[in-house]
Amino acid sequence: MLHYANPQHFLSLARRLTPWLLGAALLLLAVGVYLALFVAPPDYQQGEASRIMYVHVPAAWMSMFVYGCMAAASVAAFVFKHPLGDVAAKAAAPAGAVFTALALVTGMLWGKPMWGAWWVWDARLTSVLILFFLYIAYIALWDAIEEPARAARMARILCLVGAVNIPIIHFSVDWWNTLHQGSTVFRMDGPKMPVSMLTPLLIMAIAYTVLFAGLLLVRMRTEILARRLRTLRLNLEGAPA
């Protein structure tokens, strides 16, 4: 493991792994989508519209999972002072934001036939929306600070503050929701789901995760190389003529 903490070793490993990961992700997505659209039965209550679930639910999972990865990477960067931690967290953020946006959009698409409205202040959707804001703030902080090393240190702190706050936000939104709505309009019965529905859901979740891993490696490589380029250019400019 320590071996790959060296950026050079990491780069070569990432280069070799990326095509496999992206290929596997495509394959899994194809299988998952096929099972979801053609094999899984339509929900007896919601009909065909329930198939949005296979896109929506894994995206919602990923929105949390990616933030968890970012927090773990930030902790690693704090504790071991290793630049790869910052690079990983930075590279993961846009992917996380996209998964979160996907969860929101598919949630809205699902909401239209379910609730008859594009947006309902459902606890889960609201939490995901706030999570999206946290992603945006994190990305904006990276973007606003010109010097990468300083941006990395500030972003670490923000990421961890966000990580501590996410459970609090979830709790407060749930609390607020039960206060105002009484009962939840829609509840997904996870364990009671038939295997024919659960299988495509799990395959899609794995596909998303593998896709995320592949994209993460691509973005980390780009980030490392971009930083090197920047260093080279700066030192070239800074060198006495």
């Binding site: 706030i130 923000l158 706050n165 936000i169 407060s172």
Partner: protein, 221 residues
């Protein structure tokens, strides 16, 4: 402790003397509340039910106003270097900044809110809950805000970034604060919301002191 008191005193004096301080936040707070009926219409029942949320949103935005001046000028003019080299731990530097910001901003809002709330027809029995909820909640807003100010200090477009960082983190305070006031207005019990609000401010104090001090320490290193 002498350095702590000196910093606290100086920040309070500065916020009273220079723009962007005490009066501005209070004025902004009152202005939003006065604007609400103009936007929503003068209907009493509508304003009455919207009042808790409106007042809390106004407090949230008014708190945001002075934050840009909490850390940024000290970073620019070298005062932060002096503070980092002093014997005062940076956690206490953050605390002094938070207390100064709260005294000149949050506390003023707490005192003003019961006076302007009748504009929105807030029920009289809800006034003390409103004041109490703000008293419990605004310190948390100052803590989170100051940590955000430390994170965004020295950044171009810092004010925008500050709002982006701070507002989502303050959503729980908004929820519990507005709920407490709504509850008493509708004849319910505000105790639970108020307790949660107090807990929130305590958590914010711990997180923000650590994060703010880390941000000041690592801003340049």
């Amino acid at each position: 402790m002498r350095a702590f008191a000196a910093l606290l005193r100086r920040d309070i004096v500065l916020s009273f003397r220079s723009g962007g301080g005490a009066g501005l936040g209070a004025g902004f707070f009152v202005l939003i509340i006065v604007l609400a009926p103009l936007g929503l219409g003068p209907e009493q029942s509508l304003l009455q039910s919207a009042a808790p949320g409106l007042i809390w949103i106004a407090a949230l935005l008014a708190t945001l106003l002075g934050l840009e001046r909490v850390i940024e000028p000290d970073l620019q003019d070298g005062t932060l270097d002096l503070l980092r080299l002093s014997s005062l731990p940076l956690e206490l530097v953050v605390l002094a900044k938070v207390v100064a910001h709260w005294l000149t901003n949050g506390l003023v809002i707490c005192l003003l809110a019961p006076l302007v709330a009748p504009i929105l027809f807030l029920k009289p029995q809800a006034l003390w809950v409103l004041a109490l909820s703000l008293l419990l909640g605004t310190p948390g807003l100052s803590f989170i805000g100051t940590a955000g100010a430390a994170l965004s200090a020295g950044v171009r477009r810092g004010g925008m970034l500050l709002a982006l960082i701070v507002l989502p983190l303050n959503i729980p305070a908004l929820i519990f604060g507005a709920s407490a006031v709504s509850a008493i207005q509708r004849g319910g019990d505000p105790t639970q919301a108020l307790l949660l609000l107090a807990a929130l401010s305590l958590i914010a104090a711990v997180i923000a002191s650590l994060a703010g001090a880390a941000a000041l320490r690592l801003n340049e290193d």
